[in-house]
């Protein structure tokens, strides 16, 4: 509930800022048109009103929340060591690394690490499976459907180009 309160409050501040930002950032529109800033302002005004209503509801219900459901240092610590948090970090790292390492190394690393997170303990089996799946996805999408996959930069780009050339001919 406390997290929900913070989340809603953060949204209210952000969207409130956006409302004023768009009014200042764009030129004022004429009287005979609906300007570029007016449509987002209508949306943001409604959004802020509804967020205030929602915040009121949250604060009203906050008193009835049992002690065990309240945000404590212990529950925060538990979250930061949970599978969910590690999963989120892994997915975020994947999205960042993709541009630098390219598809093949990132896919291989991600498949291995996420399957480990989901309980796969045999590293050898996990490596072989990840390698096979990476190869299958690459062949299916790059060769089969001619869909470009990220190549990465530097040495990883050269590796991807070499592989693509070798497989195309």
């Amino acid at each position: 509930m406390t997290i929900e309160l913070i989340f809603n409050l953060a949204m209210l501040i952000f969207f409130g800022y956006c409302y004023f930002y768009i009014g200042v950032a764009l030129p004022k529109s004429g009287a005979n048109e609906l300007g570029a800033e007016q449509w987002p302002q209508i949306i943001l005004a409604l959004l802020c009103i509804l967020l205030v209503v929602n915040l009121y509801k949250i604060i009203r219900d906050l008193k009835e929340v049992p002690q065990e459901k309240k945000l404590t240092a212990q529950s925060l610590k538990a979250f930061f060591t949970s599978k969910l948090f590690i999963g989120i970090i892994l997915v975020m790292v994947l999205s960042v690394l993709l541009g630098y390492l390219g598809f093949i190394p990132t896919c291989l690393l991600f498949l291995m690490s996420y399957s480990r997170l989901l309980g796969e303990k045999r590293i050898g089996r996990s490596f072989i499976l990840s390698l096979l799946i990476t190869a299958l996805l690459f062949v299916l999408f790059y060769l089969g459907l001619s869909i470009m996959l990220p190549r990465g930069v530097g040495i990883f780009r050269e590796f991807a180009l070499m592989l693509e050339t070798a497989l195309t001919f």
């Binding site: 997290i3 929900e4 989340f7 969207f15 956006c18 930002y21 768009i22 950032a25 764009l26 030129p27 004429g30 009287a31 005979n32 048109e33 609906l34 570029a36 800033e37 449509w39 987002p40 949306i43 943001l44 409604l46 959004l47 509804l50 967020l51 209503v53 929602n54 509801k57 949970s82 599978k83 969910l84 999963g87 989120i88 997915v91 975020m92 994947l94 999205s95 960042v96 993709l98 541009g99 896919c107 991600f110 498949l111 996420y114 399957s115 997170l117 989901l118 309980g119 796969e120 499976l129 990840s130 799946i133 996805l137 999408f141 459907l145 001619s146 869909i147 470009m148 996959l149 990220p150």
Partner: protein, 500 residues
């Protein structure tokens, strides 16, 4: 009509043409089932094959790919909660819960029957009343198109009736997201904060994939659940609905097919809007609205009938006026133009074999795709028997490829991941991911048409809403918006009356 049918069958049942349609259907179902390969992308991928064909055969082949791709998208929507094409997103709402409780086969069966039904209704509508439908569609100016898109938004209130405020907040966030980037009228940058990547706007597909697929994997990471419908060989048996079940959804299918055809005809609308609109309308009309979203066959039928019907609908303005109703129709039109065919209002009159070819190809494809989809679904369903420690990461990698393939841009992958994490937070806090996606889908259409209408009316808002078609649709919107708030009050007063 009979003449068109005879002429069309004469074309499509020639051995070579039949083989091309069969191949096109196979390709379409497989492409559609691949996350990130939208129906229009499937048509574009099939285009090189069409260059070597005669124009009449080529259009029949491309229509087969298009129709089958929309159907194929339902397979992964049901099995993995990854909508193969954006128009299959509403199928995940009920298809995936059914798959989770061991009814994947039944969900697939309803999806296939719904798709075929919607496709066939649209094909007949196209052949019978193509010119008339086009004439009606031409009466839809910006104000009418705004009213249609607002109608889509007004059904937000019934996506999750239990959390009305949160559903509306989610829908408005979606609408706000659609305003990021270049303004559709003047090209002014909005909410980009000087970042060039944001100029292109927030892409719908990565948000959709993130909110549905990545969120689901994150949920399964903390609380894994098993699917029970796999047979000993590790597949899912597609089960067609029994006669009683089929009859129970007959009106859902008829209404959704008609709605899908109409929305498909409207320029700029298309299969995605059709399926969302149909899903929410059926939820509104249903006697058991609470079952929607928990694994209800009505929801799958509504979504799949409408998106397939929209494919037929989008062919109507193409054939009768030479105006493509959507992206896929535009690709088909460009293929025909490259082959030297003059697409325009005279095409149907001077060369009726084109209408006949499209009509018959749609009929044939809608039958063939049911058979082909059963086999494709079995292959895809084999993946379900794979342990989740392997399947979960594969789903995320498919989501990554699906997002990247859109613009060959890793920024879309980052967007997809952010959407996935936000989607998880949304689910935990009981906001509605579906409402956010709906807002994002309809946002730009809503804004650009309203602004255009206001400019045409010289700033007079009253004039915009006083046009007959607009006024009728807007009244329907108000009823839909106010309905959920007023209905309990009416019930209460009736109860009090009976007590007295």
């Amino acid at each position: 009509m009979l003449q068109t049918l005879t002429m069309g069958f004469g074309i499509v049942f020639q051995p070579a043409t039949f083989l091309f349609i069969l191949c096109g259907t196979c390709l379409g179902v497989i492409f559609g089932a691949m996350p990130g390969v939208s129906a229009s992308m499937a048509v574009a991928l099939a285009l090189p094959f069409a260059y070597s064909m005669k124009p009449i055969v080529a259009i029949a082949f491309l229509v087969a790919v298009y129709c089958a791709a929309i159907t194929g998208g339902g397979i992964t929507a049901i099995l993995f909660k990854i909508p193969g094409t954006p128009s299959n997103a509403p199928t995940t709402f009920d298809g995936y819960p059914m798959a989770q409780r061991g009814e994947a086969g039944k969900a697939l069966g309803v999806s296939l029957i719904g798709s075929a039904f919607g496709g066939l209704v649209a094909a007949f509508a196209m052949a019978l009343i193509s010119p008339q439908l086009s004439a009606v569609a031409l009466k839809f100016g910006p104000s009418e198109l705004f009213a249609v898109s607002f109608l889509g938004l007004s059904v937000l209130t019934c996506l999750d009736g239990g959390n009305l405020v949160k559903t509306l907040i989610s829908g408005l966030i979606g609408l706000w997201l659609s305003t990021i980037g270049m303004d559709p009228m003047l090209g002014l940058a909005r909410f980009t904060w000087g970042n060039n990547t944001l100029l292109g706007g927030v892409e719908m597909i990565p948000v959709m994939i993130g909110m549905f697929a990545v969120t689901e994997v994150l949920k399964q990471t903390t609380n894994p659940r098993k699917m029970d419908d796999t047979d000993k060989s590790g597949g899912v048996k597609t089960e067609f609905p029994k006669l009683k079940e089929f009859l129970s959804i007959k009106w859902v299918m008829i209404r959704s097919s008609i709605l899908g055809t109409i929305v498909g005809i409207l320029p700029g609308a298309g299969a995605t809007i059709a399926s969302f609109l149909s899903y929410t309308t059926e939820k509104k009309l249903s006697k058991h609205a609470d079952d929607f979203g928990t694994g209800c066959i009505d929801g799958i039928a509504a979504s799949e009938c409408a998106n397939n019907a929209a494919t037929g609908g989008s062919m109507v303005p193409l054939l009768s006026l030479g105006i493509p109703g959507g992206n896929a129709a535009a690709i088909m039109m460009s293929a025909l133009v490259m082959m030297g065919v003059q697409v325009g209002p005279l095409l149907v009159r001077s060369q009726p074999e084109y209408l006949a070819s499209v009509f018959s190809s749609m009929l044939l494809t809608n039958v063939l795709m049911v058979i082909i989809s059963i086999f494709v679904a079995r292959i895809f369903a084999k993946i379900l028997s794979v342990p989740y420690s392997v399947l979960g990461p594969i789903i995320i990698m498919l989501a990554v490829i699906g997002s990247y393939a859109l613009n060959n841009n890793t920024g879309d992958v980052v967007l997809m991941v952010i959407a996935g994490v936000l989607g998880y937070l949304f689910t935990k806090m009981k906001f509605s991911a579906a409402a956010l996606v709906l807002g994002l889908v309809l946002g730009q259409m809503c804004e650009s048409n309203l602004r255009r209408a206001v400019t045409i009316a010289n700033g007079n808002i009253l004039e915009v809403f006083s046009k007959p078609i607009t006024a009728v649709i807007m009244v329907a919107c108000v009823l839909m918006l106010v309905g959920p708030a007023v209905a309990p009050l009416i019930k209460k007063s009736r109860k009090q009356d009976t007590k007295v």
